[in-house]
Amino acid sequence: MISLTSYLLISLFLFVLGLVVMIARKNIVAILLGIELILNAAALNFVAYSRYVTNNLDGHVFSLFIIVVAAAEAAVGLAIVIRFFQIKESTHIDEATQLRN
């Protein structure tokens, strides 16, 4: 039988990969990719605990809400990226230094 620890390790690894992407990359879209990885790692943990520890499906509902929030975040984030690109002609995160153009 597959143990809870293996799921937790996969989740941990995904989280770290997301963190690496977020720190190493300077492109805003790439950073959003890292955020997706981190959110997915968290959602995986919720479902794994829901199966192995608790006796109900609240974990599933939580990961559904995580997916919903990720969708909203991606939509708004990418809209901001596109607007930023229209102003600066770049998606480099270090060029986002002004609060207004």
Partner: protein, 177 residues
Amino acid sequence: MFLQVLFLLSATLTIGCGIAVAVTRNLMHSCVFLLGTLIGIAGLYATLGADFVAVTQIMVYVGGIVILMLFAVMLTGGKDFVSRAQNLLGLAPSMGNKWTFALSGLVGVVFILTNVKLLMSVASSLPTKEINNELPSTVNEIGHLLVKDHVLAFELSSVLLLGALVGAAIIARPRKQ
């Protein structure tokens, strides 16, 4: 047996594509590898008996978010960023260089070590329940939970989605300067 095979395949897909997301130099390829990771996670959900969550994962991520990401990459230059390695302002290249990767790798290693240490102490004392190998369908129960226990969060998420929709439309709208 079947579950073990599915688990191994999904885990390999998840981790392999996850590493590829982190190391590939091409943003477009990075997005496509993210697709692989997300499908792998859906497979992991399936091994956990979370059929509804698995399908929702594929629906939202593959059908929505990844295509949005691909669109954003395409509308903001795409492949151009790989060739333009160094910016005029002397900033780090947009897909990272060895210094950023070294820094993030260091952070990652420290993070993994501390968490494995934590996990080792927790894993032995985890309360385990009887695991049944039957994986019953979760759709009905999730439906009940969403409109009973979690109804407030459910309604609020609809407001959140509406806000995100309107906000995204307003932000990305072309403006006259």
